[in-house]
């Protein structure tokens, strides 16, 4: 059946090819390749914006006594006299987190690579529904626009933290950002969830239905497994955030009391009665924790593929890799309470979450050992993409290990909500995932644009970035261990932390280095898009079938028939074969010398 529909699609495309106007080709495109580029470019814009925000608040944290006149130039009343306004500081922290987690590492990462690679690597002409796919992007775009708009309104953006805990997020009396800013945040998030669901359903359907002949589930590259599991996580968890946001909207606008009770603020009691702020946290983290893996799994999938290809070696334990992703995905739904050990949740319930949370370390350890085993006795091509993938593994280890401490409730008590946890999730979730994304961009840039990115700038980008990340977030653990709370504008009100807070100067310096290094990437990206060296057909000598499609990218992906797949994606350096790779399209009958028992 899939063959038939594919032929149909190919036929369609021939008929329409000459009618592509600017609007249908670049704007309202239904082609997965164009949509993936749209996601990527939007995500890069959002990432630069959010990174710029972090630079501003790192200036405040690193040099709290110093005045920066340019802040007044760019921020106006929020930077009066060169000092960042405390309420805008909270706004920046909130929007930085929101953009990075949702717009860059969820929308940007899955949107770019699921769109690009799912049809290419399963062997499909396009996504199951090109139209839904287009809608998914435009919901995402609208969502980004609303979020950006919330930055320039009179009362400032949402500023209760990206986790938007009520009552703070529900009461404009409590903080100015909970007025219009929060409304826009919620509108933006509703649009975003729409985008994520439209995309997710499309990804799952495409992988299940549109695989080419011979592409059984156990021959899929690990990227596709990762994207599929991610999409399922999103489909199951985003609706819960949607519900949480809807109830919050009701509390804010229609006076219901889902999350609010017994509140006295600004000299007057409010009417709310019987609600529970903890309920919101349960709903939020029921999405929020799977969200961590929605961010991380695609990055791990990209890294698995890149590490195998550039090591010229099969990924070690292919089935264990799939199994561990499935286990992580399952566990991710029953660990949300570890964000809530000290909210007053029943301690026994806390114990259950400790148990499930620490179990996550087992499949994670399996993944790390498998990556290391893949590198052992390999023949590693240290391309920029490979270095970024190795950086991801390094962060996955560092951040994963501190997760063991945070997941243990007895130890969490004293580091909850302080800089220790900030350091932890920036390494394991933020930096790991963004490194996976960089690795993906460097690796599949030729597949997107038919050109190569400049490798020297790529190396420079990698080394400055890994230095920036470790330099920023390693010392940050100690600020946390010294007891410094997060989301503090300044540490002037208590002198006991003075010595520890001095580390902020060091942290901010590294953050600025790492931040500025991203400009190298941006320049390299846009420059190479137009002026990069033309790519060869299969620049990394990869086995997967996206490299058999014409490198310039045509509508319908393959002229004529879609190739048939005969083997898994990881026959690298197989003994008995001359080349160090055997593409998935090569039948066993052509590789008699290298076939293993049972491969005929």
């Amino acid at each position: 059946m899939s063959d038939h529909s594919n032929e149909h699609a190919a036929h369609d495309h021939d008929a329409h090819e000459h009618h592509d106007s600017f609007w249908t080709k670049y704007v309202f495109s239904q082609d997965h390749k164009m949509i993936s580029k749209q996601f990527l470019v939007t995500a890069i814009f959002m990432a630069v914006l959010a990174m710029f925000m972090s630079m501003i608040f790192r200036l405040q944290l690193g040099w709290p006594d110093h005045k920066f006149p340019f802040l007044e130039t760019i921020l106006g009343k929020w930077g009066k006299g060169g000092k960042l306004d405390p309420s805008f500081y909270l706004g920046l922290v909130t929007i930085h987190g929101t953009i990075m987690v949702f717009f860059v590492l969820t929308g940007g990462l899955s949107g770019t690579f699921s769109n690009l690679l799912i049809p290419f690597q399963v062997g499909a002409r396009d996504m199951a529904s090109g139209f839904l796919n287009m809608l998914s992007y435009w919901f995402f775009f609208a969502s980004c626009t609303v979020m950006c708009a919330s930055l320039v309104i009179e009362t400032g953006p949402a500023s209760g933290g990206w986790t938007i805990y009520p009552p703070l997020s529900a009461l404009p009396q409590a903080i100015a950002g909970s007025g219009l800013g929060m409304t826009l945040w919620l509108v933006s998030m509703v649009l975003f969830i729409g985008s994520a669901l439209l995309g997710g359903i499309n990804y799952v359907v495409t992988v299940i239905n549109l695989r080419t002949k011979g592409m059984s589930m156990t021959r899929l590259p690990l990227t596709i497994w990762a994207f599929t599991i991610t999409a399922i996580l999103g489909i199951l968890s985003f609706p819960v955030l949607f519900a949480a946001a809807l109830l919050l909207l009701f509390d804010r606008s229609f006076g219901t009391s889902f999350y609010l009770s017994d509140i006295f603020i600004n000299g007057a009691p409010l009417h709310y009665s019987g609600g529970s702020p903890i309920l919101f946290q349960h709903l939020f983290w029921f999405l929020g924790h799977p969200e961590v893996y929605i961010v991380l799994l695609p990055a791990l999938g990209l890294a698995s593929e890149i590490i195998a290809t550039q090591s010229r070696k099969p990924i070690f334990g292919y089935k264990a890799m799939i199994g561990s992703m499935l286990v992580i995905a399952f566990l991710s739904f029953i660990v949300w309470g570890h964000h809530m050990f000290i909210t007053g949740m029943n301690p026994f319930l806390g114990s259950v979450f400790v148990f499930t949370t620490l179990l996550v370390a087992i499949p994670s350890a399996v993944k790390v050992f498998n990556y290391l085993a893949t590198l052992w006795k390999a023949n590693i091509v240290l391309s920029p993409a490979m270095l970024f993938a190795m950086g991801l593994v390094s962060f996955f280890i560092s951040g994963g290990l501190t997760g063991i401490i945070l997941g243990d409730s007895a130890l969490d008590i004293n580091i909850h909500d302080n800089y220790f946890v900030v350091a932890h999730f920036h390494i394991v979730m933020g930096s790991s995932a963004i490194f996976g994304m960089f690795a993906g961009v460097y690796h599949w840039f030729p597949r997107m644009f038919g050109r190569m990115m400049n490798k020297r700038l790529g190396y420079l980008h990698f080394w400055l970035t890994i230095l920036g990340v470790y330099g920023t977030f390693f010392p940050m653990h100690f600020v946390g261990l010294a007891g410094a709370p997060r989301r503090y504008y300044a540490y002037t009100a208590y002198s006991g932390f003075d010595a520890a807070i001095n580390i902020n100067y060091l942290i901010s310096t590294f953050a600025l280095i790492g931040g500025l290094a991203q400009l190298i990437f941006v320049v390299n990206f846009f420059y190479s898009m137009y002026r990069g060296k033309r790519s060869t057909q299969n620049p990394w000598k990869s086995n997967t079938i996206e490299w058999t499609a014409p490198i310039d990218g045509i509508h319908g992906n393959w002229p004529g028939e879609i190739p048939t797949v005969h083997r898994w994606a990881y026959d690298y350096s197989k003994p008995g074969h001359d080349d160090d790779f055997i593409p998935q399209t090569t039948p066993y009958s052509e590789t008699k010398n290298s076939n293993l028992p049972g491969e005929e």
């Binding site: 590198l375 091509v381 063991i404 008590i413 190396y459 932390f497």
Partner: protein
């Protein structure tokens, strides 16, 4: 003037970038064999060496930083349970430190050792079930150990406070903490947010007999070695009681009561000596984002000897001052400190 300077810098930066790109282009053209963007042996050697340099300098820097950081970390725990969690934390750090160092050395080291050479071929090694079995089981066993010990501590820490604990309410509001001491009956008078007035900031029920001897303070004083039970409330948004030196934290949530039970072990005076810092003070910080002045919301904490505590407590004011000025003897009689410290605590020890 500043604006002008900023613009000049921006324009110069743009020019620099454009020039740099142009130079890059020219260099690329000079290279001329059409394979500049292929990864060469030279690239592999260079980046492989950088991996080793990064590993050595990075690990060295981290280890140095870790030992150097001792001087700004929190001093020894001033609570009974904190000593246990601290030593458990150190064991955890030792364990993850070892795993961290070994795995990073393998990652970066093999990145260098097995860098690509035209003459070599990778070893085709798709799986090894025995190996995979062991590296699933061993982390599993270690983690079960951590879970069991961690939960044992957790259960001890979160166990209901001992019956003889001194009850203190911690009340959070934007952006201030108030402590209410339960007095001689060791019972807090009822409170409700609708009863809040200018004179009754905590909304305490005046008719409740338990509230008669309740005292409020804006500094939290704790008698050393006495088990304390904190009842935590908030009137507006979520706050969090964070006592880093006592290794204790609990959210203050409007509409519900949360609790911490702990016993302090080191007085402020002793801690000044231990930290060798005459300015040392304990502190209660708000650790849940609660509004613009979140960063300034804290309360000074003083851990007193039991005698000093009694003296301090005597001077604190009742929630409801009786209409006629009470005889000093009466108020002393009804005072919580003397009772709790006098009888119950002796029993507790």
């Amino acid at each position: 003037m500043h604006t002008l300077l900023v613009w000049i810098v921006v324009i110069l930066t743009v020019i620099t970038v454009v020039r740099a790109i142009r130079i890059l282009e020219l260099v690329n053209e000079l290279g001329g064999d059409g394979h500049e963007d292929e990864i060469t042996e030279k690239d592999n050697n260079f980046n492989g060496k950088l991996l080793i340099w990064f590993l050595v300098i990075g690990l060295g820097g981290m280890i140095y930083f870790t030992f150097d950081a001792k001087k700004y970390l929190l001093p020894v725990s001033a609570s009974v349970h904190g000593v246990l969690t601290d030593s458990y934390l150190n064991w955890n750090f030792a364990l993850i430190g070892v795993v961290f160092i070994i795995t990073q050395i393998l990652l970066f080291g093999w990145g260098y050792k097995y860098r690509h050479k035209k003459t070599q071929k990778a070893y085709f090694y798709p799986d090894n079930h025995k190996l995979e079995f062991w590296w699933t089981v061993i982390p599993g066993i270690v983690l079960i150990g951590l879970i069991v010990y961690g939960l044992k501590l957790w259960n001890e820490i979160t166990a209901p406070a001992p019956k003889n604990s001194m009850v203190i309410e911690l009340y959070g509001e934007q952006f201030r903490w108030t402590a209410r001491y339960a007095g001689g009956d060791n019972k807090l008078g009822n409170s409700f947010f609708r009863w809040i007035t200018d004179d009754n900031q905590l909304g305490v029920d005046e008719k409740d007999p338990a509230s008669k001897d309740d005292k409020i303070a804006r500094e939290l004083h704790l008698p050393v070695n006495i088990p304390i039970e904190f009842k935590i409330h908030s009137r507006d948004v979520i706050h969090s009681v964070y006592l880093p030196h006592l290794r204790a934290q609990m959210n203050a949530v409007p509409g519900m009561t949360t609790e911490i039970a702990l016993t302090s072990t080191i007085t402020t005076t002793e801690m000044k000596k231990i930290t060798n810092n005459p300015k040392f003070e304990y502190v209660l910080l708000c650790n849940k984002i609660c509004g613009v002045s979140h960063y300034m919301m804290n309360m000074k904490v003083v851990i007193d000897t039991q005698d000093d505590f009694r003296k301090w407590y005597k001077e604190q004011s009742l929630v409801f001052q009786p209409a006629e000025s009470p005889a000093p003897a009466d108020s002393a009689k009804g005072m919580a400190g003397s009772d709790v410290i006098g009888k119950k605590v002796v029993a507790a020890r």
